[in-house]
Symmetry: C2
Subunit: 337 residues, 2 copies
């Protein structure tokens, strides 16, 4: 059943999150770098270029925190939601570092951390991971231009305007307090017949269950062994499904489970419907909120499970169900045994 | 200048290429698996699903040649040209193997081989790489639906309908004759101001030059040390630029250089303009034509440099220049020292 576990020996030396106006006004806003103009344009003429600029700023901030220059990086792994991953291609151009483009929809942050940890557990000295999404760019690509004013159903999620960047090094080269990536389990593509692109949580929950049950089998652990099981962007619908179905498998997780899509906004107050989503969602929450808690020792041992819905507007129009994926990264506080 | 070289110890245990009607009628057609109906639909109702089916068939064929079942694979690395990489997500769904989606435009085959070789040089027992493109799906996504009958300029390339799949294992676990991946150098994103989406060769040639010169510097070698320097899909325009500019750098390669985009079609006879392109182009030529020559000993020591133009239709309409990339894989015949 594909329970291969990848033992890794990498650390996240530094991270940074940049976000839009709604993200910096949310519950985690104090830890997210804002656009001074606060108009979600980040000084660019288009939403797409704004997303590229988010990536550029996030990586620059992470490099500064790591006390690194671009020349210290052997690799950048980048991805986003735009067609042909153009936010990454344009946003990361100026760094002139060897670049690997990734596409895992909203799971890309964990896919990048897995590959960066593998690269630095034996092959590279330092790798950066950068992912992003932008609400306005995603709306016009996947749904309608904002000007159209389309109505969104309650199960719809809100694409996070934001980018998270991470500097990954071998564990032995990192400061003692830097969070460790100790192992990982990449996800399989799972498609359970969900065709409603306004309910991506339902499409992604089975992928999260697939990865999490394989992981518990491989490691002989249960939710009780972890302080936190953090999913990427299942939102309210998908999170409820995940907890209910894991309970049905006699692997209850509800008391340890949180979802990045529900942490980034005060969803009921802010009209964000079922929560946040997008390649930027889990990246921003991990960089701004979770890694600092691992550094402080508030959290010691967590599973980060970024989820992705890998349909395109064309595949939805052609009537296909939504393929989804969830990649798992096991993180420990640097000062934790 | 980022001359980090990745020493690797992986082998390509088996490979397979599937192609459309024009590819199987081309100079390499005898080694490319065809659609029995020969209508480029591969038994599906849409061009997009046909591309997914290309990937499914290519991976099945490669698994059969490797005498592997999907359960023998630890990872699949897949990518294509469709928005949100849906050919890979749908085409590789049934294998139920942990999946990492990649986007490097037409460079994706080499990006996948690099990551698969890294994974199997220490972390995994076997990984598959699958990439594809489909002429009709790419035309309507990037340019015009075929029914429109748009005129193509002479510098335009023809998107290959095809998929190549590769089974990568640690070198020590592979049969003696299997071609070896001995090292690799991932590419940097390079953008030299080319805005003409009908001349991707010109946009990609500088990326190929960047990677190749960094590689020659890191290895203290020149073209004379290799039997073949194979680029992915620079086509006629890009190949001429590459050879001319390498000559100007006093690193001549013309007598060793070939391009997959010029090998797959008899371009002048077939009206394929400047040659083939697409994620399927270099994958099909490598799987169908080059790896068998490495196995037979016709070739012993080659550089495979897949190139990609990472614009999207939106970035072109918004007036941005084309960012490009080239990833290098160094291959040796299995029986070669």
């Amino acid at each position: 059943m594909h329970t291969t576990l990848y033992p890794l020996s990498a650390a996240i030396r530094a991270a940074a999150a940049v976000g839009g106006s709604k993200e910096t006004a949310g519950p985690l806003g104090a830890a997210i770098l804002a656009d001074p103009q606060n108009d979600d344009r980040f000084g660019t003429p288009t939403w797409e270029q704004a997303e590229a600029e988010l990536q550029r700023r996030a990586l620059n901030a992470a490099l500064t925190r790591a006390d690194f220059s671009p020349d210290d990086l052997d690799l950048i792994l980048g991805g986003d939601l735009l067609n042909q991953c153009t936010a990454s291609a344009y946003g990361l151009l100026e760094f002139a570092v060897p670049y690997l483009g990734l596409y895992g929809a909203c799971s890309t942050c964990a896919e990048g951390l897995f590959l960066a940890a593998m690269a630095t557990s034996g092959h590279a000295e330092a790798a950066a991971v950068v992912t992003s999404s932008h609400y306005a760019a995603a709306e016009r690509q996947y749904r309608f231009p904002l000007e159209y004013g389309g109505q969104r159903p309650p199960t719809a999620q809100w694409t996070v305007t934001g980018s998270g960047a991470f500097i990954v090094t071998p564990a032995k080269a990192a400061p003692a307090g830097a969070p460790r990536i100790v192992d990982a389990m990449p996800g399989r593509v799972v498609e359970m017949g969900v065709t409603d692109a306004n309910n991506m949580g339902a499409a992604m929950a089975p992928a999260a269950i697939d990865t999490l049950t394989r992981y518990f089998t491989a490691t002989h652990t249960t939710a009780a062994d972890y302080d936190l099981i953090l999913t990427g962007d299942l939102g309210r619908e998908g999170s409820a499904l995940l907890c209910e179905l894991m309970e049905a498998e006699s692997l209850p997780i509800a008391d340890r489970h949180r979802d990045c899509g529900l942490l980034i906004y005060d969803c009921r107050a802010d009209d964000r419907h079922a929560g946040g989503s997008g390649c930027g969602c889990s990246a921003v929450v991990l960089a701004a909120h979770i890694l600092p808690r691992l550094e402080r020792g508030d959290l010691r041992n967590i599973l980060f499970l970024a989820t992705g819905a890998m349909m395109s507007p064309d595949s939805v129009k052609q009537g296909l169900a939504i393929p989804a994926i969830a990649h798992l990264i096991h993180l420990r506080g640097g000062n934790t045994k």
